[in-house]
């Protein structure tokens, strides 16, 4: 079970050492992990705690549009929403980032003006990742040079499932380098595991460690294009991984739960899991994100209800 800093240092030396390490990680008992998530989901978050959680959740959203039909107009509308989620209430915090395809990064950046919001771009042949490494790196360079300061890459699930762990690792390392070299500061790298395709919690834990060893700044559940996307137990397993990785190496990695989180109630459950599994060091937009679009409006409706005492209804939050 034991992981030490020394052990981690040699892990990535070869395919064989990677395999030995990842398959030496403690297993995840499916029943137990799901039971723990279900118990945490019964936490009753009320009044001041709920108000805190709702604002925190809003501030952690990567407001996302990833459709073939995306246009500059759509992205500008979303940017306005990201900056002022509730135009009637200036105390409502902005979201963390706007998340778009690479060709709309420049539009997003311009629409956000000088605001300190991040622009995240999916890259690396999102969502399937089925392209050559050259193309993927070009995709990343495109996004970063257009102004993305966060890159959401997908891992090659085919390579992972067929046992080519070194390839998955090296791809992530290469993308990380592309993030750093393509422009100024170096974009923050989120690594999408697509847990719905990895299927087992053991695979999720291994993929998390693989991504973290390769330099991921964040591990992210899903593209949102595969079902199931984020689930509470998958996120719990990933939070255990980042907690253990920090304990072993001293480096903190963030977690992004993406896809399928639509209600404020769900979002609060995720924050409870963050709080009780990883700890309050992760209760910050720098370390935990929601990848979502519809979630924001439900959070806003709950927020309005808490301030006015009545449900406003969907016509009192903006459609974008």
């Amino acid at each position: 079970m034991t992981t030490t800093l020394d052990a981690v240092a040699d892990v990535t030396a070869s395919e064989e050492s990677l395999r030995r390490f990842l398959y030496g990680l403690p297993g995840v008992d499916q029943v137990g992990a799901e039971a723990r998530a279900a118990t945490l989901a019964t936490r009753s978050i009320k009044t001041t705690a709920k108000a805190y959680a709702i604002d925190l959740a809003i501030s952690m959203i990567d407001l996302t549009t990833l459709e073939g039909a995306d246009t500059p107009g759509k992205v500008r509308a979303l940017a306005a929403k990201a900056l002022r989620p509730d135009p009637t209430d200036p105390t409502c915090p902005p979201v963390a980032a706007l998340c778009v395809y690479p060709d709309l990064v420049a539009t997003a950046r311009a629409a956000l003006g000088g605001a300190p919001l991040h622009v995240a771009s999916v890259a690396t042949a999102f969502p399937s990742g089925r392209a050559s490494l050259d193309l993927k790196l070009h995709d990343v360079a495109d996004a970063v040079s257009a102004g993305a300061d966060e890159v959401d890459m997908v891992i090659d699930r085919g390579a992972f499932l067929s046992g080519r762990l070194q390839q998955v690792h090296d791809d992530i390392v290469a993308v990380k380098q592309a993030c750093a070299s393509s422009g100024g500061q170096g974009a923050h790298l989120k690594v999408i595991l697509e847990t719905g395709e990895l299927q087992t919690y053991d695979n999720v834990r291994r993929a998390c460690w693989l991504a973290m060893l390769a330099g991921a700044d964040f591990v992210k559940t899903s593209t949102g294009k595969v079902q199931p996307a984020a689930t509470l137990p998958v996120t719990l397993v990933m939070l255990e991984a980042v907690r253990d990785f920090r304990a072993a190496t001293g480096r903190q990695v963030g977690v992004k739960a993406a896809g399928g989180i639509r209600t404020a109630k769900d979002a609060v459950r995720y924050l409870v899991v963050v709080n009780e599994v990883a700890g309050d060091d992760w209760l910050d937009a720098a370390w935990f994100r929601f990848g979502a679009s519809g979630l924001l409006n439900d959070l806003l409706m709950q927020r309005q209800r808490m301030s006015t005492g009545a449900y406003s209804g969907p016509d009192h939050v903006t459609l974008d």
Binding site: P26, G27, A49, N275
Partner: protein, 478 residues
């Protein structure tokens, strides 16, 4: 870095339960005053507030209750076809479900257990037990106890305070399904849900005398189990009292089942799924404040992973929320009584004196009521009293082992044998270990899971007889 996420109080409403200021005895289908008029108070262990005054049954009351049960057995319940008895049991199960919120609150008030457990564990199991045995009532010929099994007669049942309503269900559901009638005595510190159950019997139109509830202390229990017109005694509680009962019934033709104490080993091998194992250790010993006869009170952890498991366990224990049992976010509630708290403190002091290292979760305890912080003792050996005696509280003793054979030897080296846990990702090791453990229940990669279809009971000084499932019928059939 992030800020602290403080959970605001989320109390379940205590107004959902309407407690009377005083309760009589439930005999022959109605509440009656005790013959000699004595009573005692039941308190909320979380606040020491008096909840209600409860009658104390004397000899005349025991005689009356047994006579009512005998009459109901002879005239109504014994002769009734199983399919008709089943209807009453199904109805009872449904009423329990309908009133489950109220019953859960009453249980947490009287017992001190967190509402999350009474709501999500106790009450669903109570209903499940009645549903399960309702299903058996018209199928007894197929149960494997002969072509025409008959009820035993009148059962005297004495139950403990740790799962008051659940233990009632474990006792009453199979007895009634088989055609017996019962006189049941709940524990003196937790009589309230049994009295609410008496109301449910009335609500279900259960024939008078089929269920009788006598409140009182040990003396009432002694009078009940030794009553000459009782055919069957079922007891759950301490091994000491179990021994006294066995002694007092020796030479009589009364049937007896005893479910007594335990000192269960929870064995964690070095290839265990560590995060879930830590959860299982926590569930094993801190569930219901450790007031669980099958609690995993002895952690046997493979020596090569001891430090890592303990580090993770302590980190997890630090997140346990100890406090108001009615708060929906409470994980660990109040110790059931001052007497039990004194016992836990005494044995913990013995652990200190014997040189074990004590660590308690850093948590603020309320000023009033009976509280004990979740505690773990490391450096414990087989020779320590805290490794041998049942503490019946939130206190875990940690021992180590080197090989599977040593784990089994240490696990079995106890006068008890109620339950055990095995944690490993290796299926063959689970089977190898479970085969060798002398315990009535062996959980693999989980702990403290109950199901009405699964038999439950002990080896050695943990008692005899099985409750639950088809096996649980045996004690109530002849």
């Amino acid at each position: 870095m992030g800020k602290t996420f403080e959970y605001a109080p989320a109390p379940e409403s205590r107004n959902v339960v309407d407690l009377a200021s005083s309760y009589g005895l439930f005999v022959g289908g109605r509440f009656v005053d005790p013959a000699d008029g004595t009573s005692f108070k039941t308190v909320n262990p979380a606040t020491e507030e008096v909840l209600a005054e409860v009658a104390e049954a004397g000899q005349a009351d025991v005689d009356a209750a047994v006579a009512a049960a005998r009459r109901a057995y002879d005239e109504v319940w014994g002769p009734m076809p199983g399919r008709e008895r089943a209807k009453y049991l199904f109805r009872t199960a449904r009423i329990v479900q309908e009133r489950s919120r109220e019953l859960a609150v009453a249980e947490s008030l009287d017992n001190g257990k967190p509402i999350r457990e009474s709501r999500d564990v106790d009450l669903p199991l109570v209903a499940a037990w009645f549903f399960h045995y309702a299903g058996w009532a018209d199928k007894l010929e197929q149960a494997g106890y002969g072509p025409d099994p008959q009820p035993v007669g009148v059962a005297g049942q004495v139950i403990p305070w740790n799962f008051p309503l659940m233990m009632l269900a474990w006792k009453i559901a199979p007895a009634l399904a088989c055609g017996n009638t019962v006189v049941l005595k709940p524990a003196e510190t937790t009589p309230l849900t049994a009295l609410l159950f008496a109301e449910i019997c009335q609500q279900a139109d259960l024939p008078a005398g089929v269920v009788n509830i006598l409140t009182g202390a040990g003396e009432t229990g002694r009078r009940l189990v030794t009553h000459p017109d009782i055919d069957k005694v079922a007891f759950t509680g301490s091994t000491d009292v179990g021994r006294q009962i066995a002694r007092s019934l020796a030479g009589t033709d009364k049937r007896v089942t005893l479910e007594l104490g335990g000192k269960a080993a929870n064995i964690v091998f070095d290839d265990a799924p560590v995060d879930q194992a830590v959860e299982g250790i926590v569930d094993g010993i801190f569930f219901n404040q450790g007031h669980v006869c099958c609690a995993g009170s002895r952690l046997l952890v493979q020596e090569n992973v001891h430090d890592e498991v303990l580090e993770r366990l302590k980190a997890r224990m630090a997140t346990l929320r100890v406090g108001d049992p009615l708060d929906k976010n409470t994980d660990v509630g109040a110790i059931n009584s001052a007497a039990q708290l004194a016992r836990i403190r005494e044995l913990s002091a013995v652990g200190d004196a014997e040189g074990a290292e004590r660590w308690s979760a850093p948590c603020a305890l309320p000023d009033h009521g009976f509280w004990f912080a979740p505690t773990v003792f490391t450096g414990v050996t087989q020779a320590h009293r805290i490794a041998r005696e049942e503490i019946f509280g939130p206190v875990l003793s940690v021992l180590t082992f080197r090989t599977p054979a040593e784990a089994v030897a240490k696990a079995n080296n106890t006068p008890y044998g109620l339950s055990a846990g095995v944690w490993t990702e290796k299926g063959s090791l689970i089977l190898w270990t479970a085969e060798r453990l002398r315990a009535g229940v062996v959980w693999a990669n989980t702990f403290n899971k109950f199901d009405p279809a699964s038999p439950f009971g002990g080896y050695k000084e943990s008692g005899y007889g099985r409750e639950g499932g088809r096996h649980g019928l045996a004690g109530y059939l002849r």
